[in-house]
């Protein structure tokens, strides 16, 4: 006779393997989330269209408030949205109409954010504009269903309450710390999310490093300040590694670097914002600068918001790669580029 474990095992039939379409669908939301965690510097590249959309969405929210809908969250229920499909019971009292409907356009996304904004509590004076701007600047019509937008907004809330706690912690503002940890704990309970509850507990016991780490790693577009110079530098190094990959890929297929340009880079690594000394693009954080020094050598530089300018020097047609920093004096040259001139910048190995 079977024992209890075998008995339980016998009651389940073999589950199916997800097909490719299903896998793609599941990956879309993760990809959008990963993209949302990217560094804050890319906020600079958002399009003017986005700004208009956000303004429009805030206008919609303002209209809703003017019509008396007001704030829908309460002191005990910071998330007034009811999540789930069928039997799920997380969240508050506001049901999501057509939860499975695809959000097809950036405008629709911004309007949906505005629709649910009054139902999700953020620290006073904060909003969803940075997050909305990021996600509408390169909108993927396959990535979002209606229900997932307020769910994403709860992640923004988590980030902003995390930041609020950090700010209060640094200012030794105990009531502020208590408010942030309390609201986050309520969000965790409301969403039945053990991880958020755990984060709130870390706040309650004063684990500043854990909270800082959470915000730094996850909240690049959530309307918070990213943290340490090391963190900011690491983001630039990540960009430069991506840029170097693009250059090396080109070198591999063309045998030289003479034809590589900022435009080529933009095609191969579109997540970066490429510029070039020759095109008179001044250096600034968020711009990956390219200089083709000679047909076999490319110098890529990018300034961190910490103030350091990092570089990757690719020589001998891709056979040598030096990762380093450039001097302050050379960095100044990158701020005032001119067409046709050769700044002779040196990349000192260092990371």
């Amino acid at each position: 006779m079977m024992d209890e474990i075998e008995l339980v095992r016998s009651m389940s039939e073999e589950p199916p393997v997800p097909d490719e379409e299903s896998r793609r669908g599941m990956a879309k939301r993760l990809t959008a989330t990963m993209d949302s965690a990217m560094p804050q510097k890319r906020r600079r590249s958002r399009s003017a269209l986005t700004v208009v959309l956000v303004a429009a969405s805030l206008g919609v929210a303002g209209t809703a408030l003017a019509h008396g809908l007001g704030v829908l969250w309460t002191d005990k229920e910071p998330i007034a949205v009811q999540f789930g499909q069928g039997d799920a019971t997380t969240g508050g009292s506001v049901r999501i109409s057509n939860p499975q409907a695809r959000v097809q356009t950036a405008e629709e996304f911004a309007q949906t954010v505005a629709e649910f904004a009054p139902a999700i509590r953020l620290p006073e004076g904060h909003d969803f504009s940075a997050w909305t701007a990021h996600l509408t600047s390169d909108f993927d019509p396959q990535a979002w269903r209606r229900e997932q937008i307020p769910m994403g907004m709860t992640f923004v809330a988590r980030c902003q309450w995390g930041q609020a706690w950090i700010d209060s912690h640094e200012a030794a503002d105990e009531p502020g710390m208590l408010e942030a940890s309390t609201v986050l704990g309520q969000i965790g309970r409301s969403m039945d999310d053990a991880y958020t509850r755990d984060l709130a507990e870390q706040m309650r016991v004063g684990e500043g490093e854990t909270v800082r780490s959470f915000v730094d790693v996850n909240c690049g577009y959530a309307g918070v300040q990213l943290g340490s110079p090391q963190q900011l530098d690491a983001l630039v190094q990540t960009d430069l590694n991506s840029a170097a990959q693009a250059v090396l890929k080109y070198a591999d297929s063309h045998g030289e670097l003479a034809g590589f340009s900022a435009e080529t880079g933009q095609g191969l690594a579109p997540q970066l914002t490429w510029g070039s000394y020759e095109n008179s693009n001044p250096a600034s954080p968020g711009i990956t600068n390219l200089e083709i020094v000679d047909p076999d050598r490319a110098l890529i530089t990018q300034e961190s918001e910490s103030g350091t300018t990092f570089c990757v020097d690719i020589g001998e047609g891709g056979a040598t790669v030096v990762r380093g920093v450039i001097s302050e004096q050379d960095a100044q040259l990158l701020h005032e580029p001119g067409p046709g001139s050769n700044p002779q910048i040196e990349c000192h190995a260092g990371w």
Partner: protein, 195 residues
């Protein structure tokens, strides 16, 4: 330099650590484990929301990736999935009742050499489904990770972030509830799983 190949190799732990600086690296964890997580969730709730919850599992894992310290991420992902699944308790109950109904058909069709066992299992299926309904969520998670995903005690402990002794005690509780639910006519063959 074959950067692409390097990104595809290495442990989950390395990919997750790298994703702290380059979030896109987390995609490797999805590529490796999406099927297993999907199948675990499917077993528990069926097809209704399996894609949503698989997606929720990976998004939650991504958000809390800085806490992951191991090398194999799958047990950790199962633990997150178990947490996500709590929102779908009623769906899970319906699924277990469906298993109970299907159990008798599976047994009758079976040609394996344990046909008597399968007939016993089929007869016990409705009570078993009720027993699973009665289990505390934590006890049920332990039982199903052991029975369906065949995780070791150590892996279950890592998965649910509980001491290994708690795994044993929860499993013992789960087995007792099942035995009591099945009644005197059922006697366990082995206590091997209790250790």
């Amino acid at each position: 330099m074959d950067v692409g190949a390097k990104e595809q190799s290495g442990t989950d732990g390395e990919a997750i650590a790298a994703s702290l600086e380059d979030p896109a690296r987390f995609k490797l964890v999805f590529d490796r484990h999406a099927t297993a997580v999907y199948r675990y969730i499917y077993r528990r709730i069926g097809s209704d929301a399996v894609e949503e919850l698989t997606s929720d599992t990976f998004v939650t894992a991504f958000d809390f990736r800085e806490r992951f310290k191991g090398q194999d991420a799958l047990p950790w992902l199962y633990g997150i999935a178990a947490n996500v699944l709590r929102r779908y308790r009623r769906t899970e109950i319906r699924r277990q009742r469906a298993y109970a109904r299907a159990g008798s058909l599976l047994a009758i069709d079976s040609e394996d050499d344990r046909i008597e066992d399968r007939l016993d299992a089929a007869a016990a299926a409705p009570e078993l489904a009720r027993a699973l309904e009665q289990l505390e969520p934590g006890d049920r998670d332990v039982l199903l990770l052991l029975a369906w995903e065949e995780l070791s005690y150590q892996e279950i402990a890592e998965s649910l972030d509980i001491p290994i002794g708690t795994v044993a005690s929860r499993l013992s509780t789960a087995r007792r509830v099942i035995r009591e639910s099945l009644g005197d006519g059922w006697s366990s063959e082995s206590e091997a799983h209790d250790g």
